[in-house]
Amino acid sequence: MPINREYIIKRALSLVFVVLGVVVVTFIITRVIPARPELLWTGPHATIEQIERARRELHLDKPIHVQLWHYFVDLFSGNWGVSWRTKMPVLPSILSSLPATIELVVSAFILATAVGIPLGISAAIRRGSGVDSVVRIFSVVGASTPVFWLALLLQLAFCNWLGLLPAAKRVDEYIAISTGFKPLTGFYTIDSVVQGNIPVLIDVLRRMFLPAVVLSLYPMCLSARMTRALTLEVLSELHVRSSIAWGIPRSRVLYKYVLRNVIAPVVASLGLSFGYTIVGAFMVEIIFVWPGIGYYTAMSLLSYDYPAIIGSVIFVAIIYSVINTAIDILHATIDPRVEL
């Protein structure tokens, strides 16, 4: 498990370049869209003079490379700009919406691995059986189901027809206020547990259930399919037969030795599916009115809110890079042959 400081420094440096690249690309893309964001800034009843002044204030009258330069200077002095839509500073808005998304995505990933990996293993052990067929069909159908369609369908079924679950938001304000719930970290599950607030915890979990299930479907199916294929491959390898032949009980060989061989590459592949899940989170957050970074970005996109768009994209890029670094490190701790 050779993780050295050099590797961490290298990844941190590459993160800086990733962010620079993302800023440039996003900046150019937003600027070439034929839109007039100054109208949003000034409001519907602005005079032509007011609009012209807004263009100057927002530097929209300057060439694009000058605009980019201004943006970089502001960015590195900690000024991420003010949202043209909400008139609020971008950075605090993003930071306050981040926990909602992280809580949702992490729950989805825990659910995906907790269900997907056992499903894949049980399918592989009983290859060709009914369980195997069900898992195989489920993993193909699930992975090819569009996230937004499933989200709408489940919302319709569980919230509208059956009336079992609330359809939107992270917590019921009435329950939160009446029980004196205070969001400390922004992760409501942690906050409610820390405060021993059971009614809020139940409400939060009930509201998170559907979005997390929808979001977990793709990584769940991916991990189930990969786990099944990898387990079959590992089971046919010589070291499984030799361990059994030397006298290690079959169950121990399966759950200690084979399992680790399977989990290492599955974990590595989950890092790749993380990007897909973030995109899914955007849709899920809109449908379930989940006040996370996806919801914030989507609203900003719809109103050509340039500073907010670029700010959120930078954050998504940072999260993606950090998660992949973390998964690389995790992979290296599981597999001694991986050197970072």
């Binding site: 037969r241 290690i248 200690k256």
Partner: protein, 329 residues
């Protein structure tokens, strides 16, 4: 059945189920191994020799099925034992195995020590990690590995092929088995290392009074390590007897051909000898002798009916129509 037989394999048939059809890899092989004896199973690739070894420890791949026959270990048919009984009573502490590819025998994600301690814990019931560790170190010293502590904590990719094979032998022997199956243990090693590992196996066999089944395609190696030799071809036994009998007085045409193919430094020939032709397709049934297409002495009967096993001398058996039966002892 002789009373001192530690292993008796009777009329063993093993099939592999593949997409192309059923491969009849072993077709009625019988083995008798006395306590302390070593038997070499010699054959070309695909003759079924490794399959027999795997069947004796019940470690055939999932698509390999024993269709018929019995494997008596100390008069108990291990084919009738449950998977659990096999692991509890037989594997490791009675019968163990060393494989051809030392790098693939070890799980790449675990140290040699982890595997070894699991074998010791499961078979010798040593739950105390430190005592198990000391026993492991003792085994690594027994196979002449320098720096056993380092080997114990090494991952397979950190060791050379020769070291891994020694470690594999140590793990296989760590629960004191009485019978060791060595499945081409030197084939994938460098020539100089091969000789060392062979010497090691010979020494261990004497010191631990092991019975051994040594599987190889190399008659020269066979002569060096074993008391007895069995020649296998296309899943059937062609000839079996004491090593010196087989080497000096082979009866079966195939055995003779094999012997001619051993290159010798004393015999100056311009080209290496070989047996023209190849093994028959094991998916299609053979009506006569499987060697008939390649045999110089084949007669009409050879393509019609399979040769029966004849006893031609003291513990010397041959399956050939041309062999003359002698009263066996």
């Amino acid at each position: 059945m002789s009373g001192t037989a530690i292993l008796a394999v009777n009329d063993l048939h093993i099939d592999y189920y593949t997409f192309e059809g059923v491969v009849r890899a072993v077709r009625g092989v019988s083995i008798e191994l006395c306590r302390g004896e070593s038997l070499c199973i010699v054959g070309e690739s695909g003759s079924g020799k490794s399959t027999i070894g795997l069947a004796i420890v019940r470690a055939l791949p999932p698509n390999g099925i024993v269709a018929r026959g019995e494997i008596l270990y100390n008069n108990v048919d291990i084919l009738r034992l449950s998977e659990e009984e096999m692991s509890k009573r037989i594997r490791g502490k009675e019968i163990s195995i060393v494989f051809q590819d030392p790098a693939a025998t070890f799980n790449p994600l675990f140290t040699i020590g982890e595997v070894m301690l699991d074998v010791i814990a499961a078979q010798l019931g040593v739950r105390d990690r430190r005592r198990a560790y000391e026993h492991g170190i003792k085994m690594l010293k027994l196979v002449e590995l320098p720096d056993p502590e380092r080997v114990m904590n090494s991952y397979p990719h950190e060791l050379s092929g020769g070291m891994l094979q020694r470690a594999a032998i140590a793990v296989a022997l760590s629960a004191n088995p009485k019978l060791l199956i060595a499945d081409e243990p030197t084939t994938m090693l460098d020539v100089t290392i091969q000789a060392q590992v062979l010497d090691l196996l010979k020494r261990l066999r004497k010191e631990l009074s092991l019975s051994m089944i040594f599987i190889t395609h190399n008659l020269g190696v066979a002569a060096e390590v074993c008391d007895r030799i069995m020649v296998l071809y296309a899943g059937t036994m062609f000839e079996e007897g004491y090593a010196d009998t087989i080497l000096t007085n082979p009866i079966h045409p195939y055995t003779r051909k094999l012997l001619e193919c051993i290159p010798r430094a004393s015999r100056r020939v311009s080209r290496l000898r070989y047996i023209p032709g190849s093994l028959p397709d094991l998916k299609t049934p053979v009506s006569g002798c499987p060697f008939e297409p390649r045999c110089d002495y084949a007669t009409k009967i050879c393509s019609v009916s399979p040769p029966l096993v004849r006893v031609v001398g003291h513990r010397h058996r041959v399956a050939c129509h041309l062999a003359q039966e002698k009263g066996g002892v």
